[in-house]
Symmetry: C2
Subunit: 206 residues, 2 copies
């Protein structure tokens, strides 16, 4: 049984908590708002805490906006060494609809530089939360694209996801996070233009 | 009825010819190899010519590798003004599996700079040829993602595609070609790792 800590109680944090619990993982939820933490935790039978509390998971999902990543990494510096650190962010300026990371980098690669002792994995940023909760997208099953340099860390996350009934595949090394963040931008663009809905997105057909 | 010229007789050129003809477009095929041109043209009832011959289409698809785009644009300089110019390329180094265009640009934007009088549209680079020919991907229909700054040009191409039985949506302005080329890289990466087959790819679920 995997131990997974999710920091953040927004739609994607809550969705990953549901998915992980469905797959039998032991879930810890940490967040700023105790009421919200309790609410998400109750639904999935998770343990709770506030940001700053000790992390119990071996897989740590930073389910916070891109702008909050650096502070959070600093706050947990040292506690993240040896852990699988999952970046779900879409580093966008939502007014201009442009990526705010340098074109030759990504939020995930920036995070890896901040926390060199952890194994950073990019995942979930190309999936809308509702599809992770239901395990359905259109007539099929959503696929989580996972990028990372540490194959063991990547595989551990893939197992958590597939145990919860959602497909997951490796999209390659961590530098592929650049393209995954581009894909997140495309998905959010299509949804904001109402070409697709928030229960849709990019599916992987084999 | 749209008039479409396809330059190139490789798998994607041939697939776009089939798709356009299926939708009732008048198709011209231009290529270096006369035998190959005749072969593709015969299947779809297209007119033929060699590279350098006059273009009869209002929509011109450059179905050639990225490395051949600049020369072709130079050769047809002047003849492309006012036309919809479709870039299908995936500008990859297939040994290192990296994009060879600058990270803050794209093959399509480079082409637009070379041919300022044409309306460049990025399309087809995220689709595998077989899915365009059959109109099927998994249990669904493939979607062509189309990026361009000229809405009329984009819409004209979208109509050619949808008339042929394949879905097509606008992915935004031409600068989104950057993310489409990233998505092409992801699709080719998944196929080269045998995570997906050449009849699969990224589907758009509404």
């Amino acid at each position: 049984m995997a131990k997974i800590t999710i920091i953040g109680t927004g739609s994607i944090g809550s969705a990953v908590a549901t998915l992980a619990a469905k797959g039998g993982s032991e879930v810890q939820i940490l967040g700023r708002n105790e009421t919200k933490v309790a609410e998400v935790a109750k639904e999935v039978g998770a343990s709770t805490g506030t940001i700053g509390d000790a992390i119990t998971g071996d897989i740590v999902v930073l389910a916070v906006p891109y702008s909050a990543l650096a502070d959070l990494a600093g706050q947990y510096s040292g506690q993240l060494d040896g852990k699988t650190l999952v970046d779900v962010s879409n580093p966008l300026d939502f007014e201009t609809f442009e990526l705010v990371v340098p074109a030759d980098s990504s939020a995930a690669e920036e995070l890896q530089a901040l926390v060199p002792g952890a194994s950073v994995v990019k995942a979930f940023n190309t999936n809308f939360a509702a599809t992770l909760v239901t395990g359905q997208m259109g007539n099929g099953v959503p696929t989580v694209l996972v990028a990372g340099d540490d194959d063991t860390a990547k595989q551990a996350l893939i197992e958590v996801i597939t145990a919860g009934g959602v497909q997951a595949v490796s999209a390659g090394p961590l530098k592929r996070a650049r393209e995954l963040e581009g894909l997140g931008l495309l998905a959010l663009g299509l949804a904001s233009q109402e070409v697709i809905g928030w229960t849709g997105g990019f599916a992987v057909e084999k």
